[in-house]
């Protein structure tokens, strides 16, 4: 013991009354205990900046005795007593969710990130579900890439979009950005259910896009006398690729004579549309569907 220390001890014993001395000693002990307990024997927490989801992690600790270890992150809040001086083991289950984690041990804390594992599944938005055939950039596909823990895979990945109908296929490969890849595709010339597939690595997902005939290419009708007036009927109506225009499509027949104008809307049924127009001795009859106008008939009742 140095002379200074001896002098201080002597001064302490001579200048303090016993109660103050006891309080001072207790406070000092409390201070030391608290410092050790709160700041601990453990040194800095050494954790990697980033861990891949589903991988375990060992956090080395220093010191001795027991301490409370905390892990707080997305979907996780762990509190456990650990032995200082060894490694704290975090299992793959503890670190499944991508995001920012905080660990705290014995007054020290640190943060690190968990990033997504490789692509395991794809969520595909395919729009619309029903499209006209032979139309450019009408089908959009948006793919979201997820790992096995439903974390968005933010690393760029090649994503293949494939649209196939009646053996005809269109393929396009895009690179995902921030977990998302999208494309626009032309519809096929032939109608039918198109298989729209997005794939990345071993993951793929399929949607069906119904491709239907687009607008009629032309409309041709005939007219004949009928006991109740004039019966007008179209030939089978097709789009410009030869696909039958879907049943239910509206076709409008119009008759104009000296009495005025008569209009009848009819739906295509089994590929053709027909309607009954009022009898007339001298009429002009026209037919149209959407923006497509068909032939015109000059009707004379002889």
């Amino acid at each position: 013991m140095t002379n200074d220390a001896i002098d201080f001890e002597q001064e302490l014993s001579t200048t303090l009354d016993p109660v103050a001395k006891a309080i001072l000693v207790c406070a000092g002990v409390l201070f030391v205990v608290c410092c050790l307990g709160l700041y601990g024997f453990a040194g800095e927490l050494n954790v990697p900046a980033t861990v891949t989801a589903g991988n375990g992690l060992s956090v080395p600790t220093s010191g001795s005795g027991d301490a409370t270890f905390y892990l707080v992150g997305p979907g996780t809040a762990i509190k456990r007593t650990v032995q200082l001086g060894g490694n704290v083991h975090l299992t793959a289950d503890d670190l499944q969710n991508a995001g920012r984690y905080i660990i705290a041990l014995d007054g020290n804390s640190a943060s690190f990130y968990v990033s997504a594992a490789p692509v395991h599944s794809i969520a595909l938005l395919a729009r619309p579900s029903r499209v006209p055939a032979d139309t450019p950039n009408v089908i959009t596909g948006t793919a979201f890439l997820f790992d096995r823990y439903q974390n968005l895979v933010l690393q760029p990945q090649p994503v293949k979009f494939d649209l196939e109908v009646n053996g005809q296929s269109v393929t396009r490969t895009e690179t995902s950005k921030d977990g998302v890849a999208y494309t626009k595709l032309n519809s096929s010339k032939k109608e039918g259910p198109a298989q729209f597939v997005a794939s990345s690595g071993n993951a793929s997902v399929r949607r069906v896009v119904q491709e239907v005939a687009s607008d009629p290419c032309n409309i041709r009708m005939t007219a004949q006398r009928d006991p109740r007036g004039i019966l007008v009927r179209t030939d089978p109506i097709r789009d410009c690729a030869g696909n039958p225009v879907p049943d239910g499509t509206i076709v409008t027949f119009t008759s104009t004579d000296s009495q005025g104008k008569s209009t009848v809307d009819a739906r295509i049924k089994r590929g053709i549309a027909q309607a009954q127009l009022p009898a007339s001795n001298d009429a002009t009859i026209s037919v149209a569907s959407g923006v497509v106008v068909g032939n015109e008939i000059k009707w004379r009742n002889e």
Binding site: A20, K21, F31, G73, A77, S109, R127, T140, Y182
Partner: protein, 176 residues
Amino acid sequence: MTSFGRMALVTVLAAFVVLAPNQKINSVLAATAPSVSLNAAQAAPRQVEDTTQKAVARDYAAAWQAMADALDQNRADLLAGNFIGTADEKLTASIDQQRKTGLHQRIVDKGHSVEVVFYSPEGSAMELHDTARLELQVLDGSKVIHSEDATVRYVALLTAAENSWKVRMIEAVPSF
């Protein structure tokens, strides 16, 4: 007690108080939604309409307020209406775990600088890059075990619902 004794006692106690961990707890919950500054100039492939921008900023701010309240009070019911899918499941799991371990989190939200980086062609999904300034505390009961002022970057996926935008996924990332 002598003056020296008193001085020594005060010094020791003061040191104890100063060196003890920061026990300051902001017990005031977010009374209003945090500020969200939203920039949609770089949104692709679809442009974001003005009304949609306002709706997204409003709903994203509400989601953060709900998340902060839910993680502080350990009440998953406070998430309802703002989160769906994976985000809802993971936050609910967090709250469940926190309740079991006696932990909770306090988030003092100091604002979000948000950029729309993706808006799906059909307008049903949106991805955000959010740079959030937060005061974060993790508490074991009333004891603060972690406290920091942090700028945290988040990637969030939002889905258009019937009359609002809901957070489907939110992940903190080291960088964009």
